[in-house]
Subunit: 418 residues, 2 copies
């Protein structure tokens, strides 16, 4: 057994141990139609191949003019223009615009060559057949979107790994990027263990509880853009567990095994992970609460993670170790993402030194302040997970956080990185 | 034409006009397997039919005892216990526990009848064959989860319309709720109009731009739990538009038509909505920026909404009018949801009186503060939509918000209600 194997590791070191045995990027890429790309992540950065809007457009209903022809115009001394045409939406103006000329233009229509500004119809007056007066000067570029003002050809519009939101799909449509290279969702094999655990479709006997972790982790994997596969509950039978783990390992990009809260099972799980291939278990335990009894394993470049049995602990360990894989393909250069939301901590929270601690919090607005109210409860309770809106962290070196402190909250459903 | 039809309405009144012509709940419900319910909304509240965990469980590794037998115990004067057994995980203890007896128990195992506390193994010492000493008193219930401590049979665990998150799926698994009544996603027919708009798969000519709104609204509908159907771009041809709108109307639960930025098209759209059935258009325009040129229509109890052509305006109008339908089935008793995130406004923003204004903002952490930085730009630009992390509102009665104010931010991806 390797030296230091039973040392409980800080999260950063736990990730390093795994990263040292994994490829930098676990994910493959595939081409998908733009409309199928919501909530996918870009496998490559996207560079604009065209300008948007692609031509100078009016942003008002009015008249296209040369700005210099309007200089000095006022209600008392309006500038006079001959109206030489009307520009149809979607059409190329059928003539150029010369000095002293104006063309009628609608919002979004194309500026004629020679024009460099648009005057709102409100600042014009009819001045007899085919001519208008302009009552206010317009600067060059006024009420005009330049051809490359929204997006400039050659600019990077999204970096690799960008998570595509609905407005991003429209933005890419504007650029004609109707097929994209996106990452293939990683498949996650999910196994639950424990003699007291039964499938949720069964009625538990006294002493037994239903399998919560497989269902939570199935849904969490989907939420994070992965592809979950449930391999069911394996009671504490080492041979059956080995067979099930090998099957999950062969059929997925990574495997999580939750449970085995009893000491014997934890040992079985570690032995089986190591029996599947090299290097096997790379750490036993993380300096994090909840989530300490986490096994980090890698088998031939594939992560195999042993999660704690308690639902809250399993969820935190999954967020710390599996979420970065699903969302970033590894642990290298994890972004901090959107800054955590700030809230006022409603009560003091103590923490043991030498470990990171995660607290489930509920956000509440009281007297104009956003409060983070810790949802506390005995170890093993499910209720805090469902009452909470997010998580707060007490760092490794801290012994607690006082009531009234401003704390960062990782809001469930947002693209945070713990 | 009805009186007051051309009055621009505040958002609340616009919603009331629509609500007055719609059923209270637009959605039907269906039964789905629990694993298919992530991001679905409950059609009925869920009441626990069982207690969870369902039996008294130890939360520590140690010994089950009667608390009163430990009273007064100390290191100097330990309490003596006869160990009468070892409780296996998932099993019913094979005997009851009498005074002066202890049974070995693992975290999560079932307390024997007669026991009311568990003592951590760390506070015990072996005292010869089959007996232990307890060095510290335990209170009744100490280190024990009661049978109904997590969830109590008969309690409502989720209200109707609750949006199911990953931890909720696990929670329902714990209760054995493996099939749920959830709302069927509303189908949304999406049409774009405008002579300058071309399908994103085509190369636009000068003067033309690609259809952005169909793609953004398709993705936004998915994001909000709806089922989008794109009916393509209809150029300003009233007969074709009428046919396409009728088809979309017949095939969907609601219809959105974006664009028609030119005055003539807007008129066509309104006429066609009214021609489809009663009551037709119920308001022309909302007192909101961006989003003013929004047409509210209902045809035989089905919403038909005319959205502005500008992408930002279309998105805001969609958030205000369509999002409540997709997420709450109507406009009645809209919740305020999670309180908006608070942030410091980085610069002053003016607003016209008599209208609500929505500003795209980017969140940035600077010197420990979370700043909301307005992403400004000329009307019609797409870039602010993709640079922003969320929205802030300047209320109807306000003329602006000063730099340094604390503002609520509706963070994209969270379950907010504008």
């Amino acid at each position: 057994m390797k030296e230091g194997l039973f040392k409980v590791l800080p999260v950063a070191e736990a990730r390093e141990k795994l990263a040292a045995n994994l490829p930098v990027e676990l994910r493959r890429s595939e081409k998908k139609s733009l409309l199928d790309c919501l909530a996918r992540r870009l496998a490559k950065s996207v560079t604009a191949r065209e300008n948007v809007p692609g031509f100078a457009r009016s942003t008002v209903d009015g008249y296209a003019v040369r700005a210099q022809d309007t200089f000095g115009a006022s209600e008392g001394l309006p500038a006079f223009f001959t109206v030489t045409g009307d520009i149809r939406m979607g059409a190329v103006p059928d003539q150029d615009l010369a000095s002293g000329e104006a063309m009628q233009i609608a919002t979004g229509a194309m500026l004629p060559s020679g024009a460099d500004a648009a005057v709102m119809v409100e600042y014009t007056e009819a001045a007899g057949e085919g001519s208008i007066e302009v009552l206010k000067p317009a600067g060059p570029g006024e009420n005009v979107l330049r051809a490359d003002e929204d997006i400039k050809a050659g600019d990077e519009v999204f970096p690799a790994n960008h998570l595509l939101r609905s407005q991003d799909i429209g933005y890419l449509a504007a650029l004609g990027e109707i097929e994209l290279d996106v990452f293939v969702p990683l498949s996650v094999g999910i196994i639950s263990t424990g003699d007291e655990i039964v499938d949720p479709t069964l009625k538990p006997n006294p002493g037994q509880v239903r399998d919560i972790n497989s269902y939570t982790l199935f849904a969490k994997t989907l939420e994070l853009g992965g592809k979950p596969n449930i391999y069911g509950v394996v009671q504490d039978n080492p041979q059956l567990l080995q067979e099930r783990m090998r099957q999950a390992y062969e059929e997925n990009d990574l495997v999580v095994i939750s449970g085995g809260s009893s000491v014997g099972t934890k040992d079985h799980t570690a032995e089986i992970i190591s029996s599947l291939g090299k290097p096997g278990v790379v750490f036993h335990g993380m300096a994090v609460k909840p989530g300490k009894p986490t096994l980090g394993g890698v088998v031939e470049q594939k992560p195999v993670i042993g999660l704690p049995g308690h639902p809250a602990a399993a969820l935190i360990a999954f967020e710390l170790l599996v979420s970065p894989l699903l969302r970033f393909g590894g642990y290298h250069e994890l972004p901090t993402g959107i800054p955590p939301i700030d809230a006022l901590l409603s009560r003091s929270i103590g923490s043991g030194p030498g470990r990171e601690e995660y607290i489930f919090v509920k956000l509440q607005r009281k007297q104009g302040e956003v409060l983070a109210e810790p949802v506390l409860g005995k170890s093993g309770l499910l209720s805090p997970l469902v009452e909470a809106d997010g998580l707060m962290r007490i760092p490794l070196e801290s012994e607690g956080t006082a009531a009234g402190s401003i704390v960062g909250v990782y809001l469930f459903g947002t693209d945070y990185v713990l």
